[in-house]
């Protein structure tokens, strides 16, 4: 099973004039669960956004399912969960309406058939949100928003899931639901690329971790068996008090 589903070779990208990716190689094979780790600003979000074509690439090659990304059209095979804190837009929308957007790639000209409606319902069941189907997303908690966004990605029955920080701002109960959903998807043969700030509750699922630092791949291998995230190679452990380290504090509170 070494068929690459995602393949990046020597990918470079700039935001403005600042290089964010400086020649990244990354391969995700079929059935693999790969976590993309790194500190804020290491380029992990830019890397996944270059895969889906949201960030223009200045050099290198990107392939999805063996097809150069520019010619890739089979988007129903990809489920994408963008980095969001909310599923809401400027107008009220129900959970079903949001999740239905994820099914569009399987429809012809956006006409929904019975099977499409069933798929949307099924995606909601997978994330435990079926009972909220008719509710406005405005009435949901942060974790529920994330579950809706994941249901939207699952609605097209994708083979590849790309998730950008799916656990950010998610309460414990929703984290467990998300971990379980992902486990079921992986058991069913899905390939997953996850951007994570820390391994967290998804750790047992992850086959391989790729750590980025300053737009370069620092580590590509088994997920670091760690005492927490501190043991990650290249982990920039940024605390709120980090700024104070620059100047000595003599408040006497801690010393």
């Amino acid at each position: 099973m070494t068929e690459p589903v995602i393949s990046l070779r020597g990918v470079r990208a700039e935001l403005g004039s600042r290089p964010v990716l400086r020649g990244i190689d990354l391969t995700v094979n079929r059935g693999e669960v790969v976590a993309l780790l790194g500190a804020n600003g290491s380029g992990k979000s830019t890397a996944v956004r270059s895969v889906i074509g949201q960030v223009p690439v200045s050099a290198g090659e990107i392939e999805l399912f063996g097809t150069p990304r520019a010619r890739f059209r089979d988007w129903a095979r990809v489920g994408y969960v963008p980095q969001r804190t909310t599923a809401a837009g400027g107008v009220p929308a129900t959970v079903t309406e949001i999740v239905s957007s994820g099914r569009l790639s399987r429809t012809r000209f956006g006409v929904f058939r019975k099977a499409d409606r069933a798929a949307v319902r099924h995606a909601l069941e997978l994330v435990g949100m079926a009972d909220r189907a008719k509710d406005s997303v405005d009435a949901l908690s942060g974790g529920q928003h994330q579950r809706v966004l994941i249901a939207r990605a699952l609605a097209s029955d994708p083979e590849l899931l790309i998730m950008d920080e799916p656990m950010a701002g998610v309460d414990l109960a929703s984290q467990e639901v998300l971990a379980r959903t992902l486990r079921e998807q992986v058991a069913a043969g899905a390939t997953v690329l996850l951007v994570l700030h820390e391994l967290g509750p998804l750790e047992p699922l992850i086959d391989r971790a790729v750590v980025l630092r300053d737009g370069c791949v620092l580590h590509d291998g088994p997920p670091p068996k760690a005492v927490g995230q501190h043991a990650l190679p290249g982990h920039d452990h940024v605390h709120p008090h980090a700024a104070h380290d620059a100047e000595p504090i003599r408040t006497g509170l801690l010393s």
């Binding site: 889906i52 059209r73 994408y80 107008v91 009220p92 929308a93 129900t94 239905s100 957007s101």
Partner: protein, 300 residues
């Protein structure tokens, strides 16, 4: 109902109803993308079209359609490529459009600022037979796009980045939204005027949101409000001799205020119904032991 005996009133009502349908139908997507004022910008650009129409002795309606479509496409391209100074470029487009309109209409042999006023604030009673034909055709296009492509436009307006990954032609749909908005502006130009067009695109949607939980319901209620206020405003202006455009816009804002006042008790009732109807769901209020102050805030 004696006003229906007059041809000019029949034309005025038809035009008004079509605007009442199309303006909120497009406006809902603009509000969803948080570009509520785009209609206003297009209105400014359309003035150049009106001026050019007078200068070249063309139909001002069709010329305004052409110019505002070009302007809307340009705005979309600016949004696309020029992220850094996008707002400045848009400002130049808006004010350039307005200045161009005033300039061209004064250069025109038959035009004066008085002509421009009827386009700025609407002139419902002077809607001609050919205006009606143009308005009907343009409104048909708008309805076809906003209803026929509702799922696609919803997806793109809700989350552009996600829409791209579903394989939707995001750029084409954005351009289509811009063009449809531009067409709507010219449809509404004779009814409420270029300066007030945006109100009919945005305010009915904002009013509908006070009552609705879904996009579909918001769409239906907004169009309902749009049709009600355009008919109401037109008929009022017939009996009271007040400017129809301003009447329609004031009625729309009145509807917004009324629905907002109505929505608060409705939301409370809904919350109560949920609390009693679904004991398993989230309770509407925290159960705090009687001994504690129930100020509604419990530290976590």
């Amino acid at each position: 109902m004696d006003f229906l005996n007059y041809d000019f009133m029949q034309r005025a009502l038809l035009a008004a109803v079509l605007v009442g349908i199309t303006a909120p139908a497009v406006g809902i997507y603009l509000v969803q993308r948080r570009q509520a004022l785009m209609g206003d910008g297009i209105g400014h650009v359309a003035m150049t079209g009106v001026g050019l129409g007078f200068l070249l002795s063309w139909s001002p309606v069709w010329m305004a359609t052409l110019v505002s479509v070009l302007g809307a496409v340009l705005m979309e391209l600016i949004r696309w490529y020029g992220r850094t100074r996008g707002d400045i470029a848009l400002a130049m487009l808006f004010y350039g459009g307005m200045a161009g309109g005033v300039m061209f209409i004064n250069l025109a042999p038959t035009g004066s600022n008085a002509n421009l006023t009827s386009y700025l604030f609407g002139s419902l009673s002077t809607v001609s037979e050919s205006d009606v034909t143009a308005i009907v055709l343009l409104a048909a296009f708008v309805v076809l796009v906003t209803l026929g492509l509702r799922r696609q436009l919803f997806a793109v307006s809700q989350d552009e980045e996600f829409a791209r990954v579903t394989g939707l032609p995001v750029r084409a749909l954005n351009l289509l939204t811009a063009i449809t908005a531009a067409v709507t502006v010219t449809v509404a130009m004779r009814v409420v005027g270029l300066l007030l067009v945006s109100a009919l695109m945005v305010v009915p949607v904002a009013a509908a949101q006070q009552l609705s939980r879904s996009f579909a319901a918001t769409f239906a209620i907004a169009v309902g409000i749009g049709v009600t206020v355009t008919i109401g405003g037109t008929v009022t202006s017939y009996y009271q001799d007040v400017p129809p455009g301003a009447t329609i816009v004031l009625l729309t804002i009145g509807a917004f205020i009324a629905l907002t006042a109505l929505a608060a008790p409705l939301a409370r009732r809904r919350a109560r119904a949920m609390a009693t109807g679904e004991p398993a769901g989230d309770p509407a209020e925290c159960a705090i032991p009687a001994s504690r102050e129930s100020d509604g805030k419990v530290g976590v």
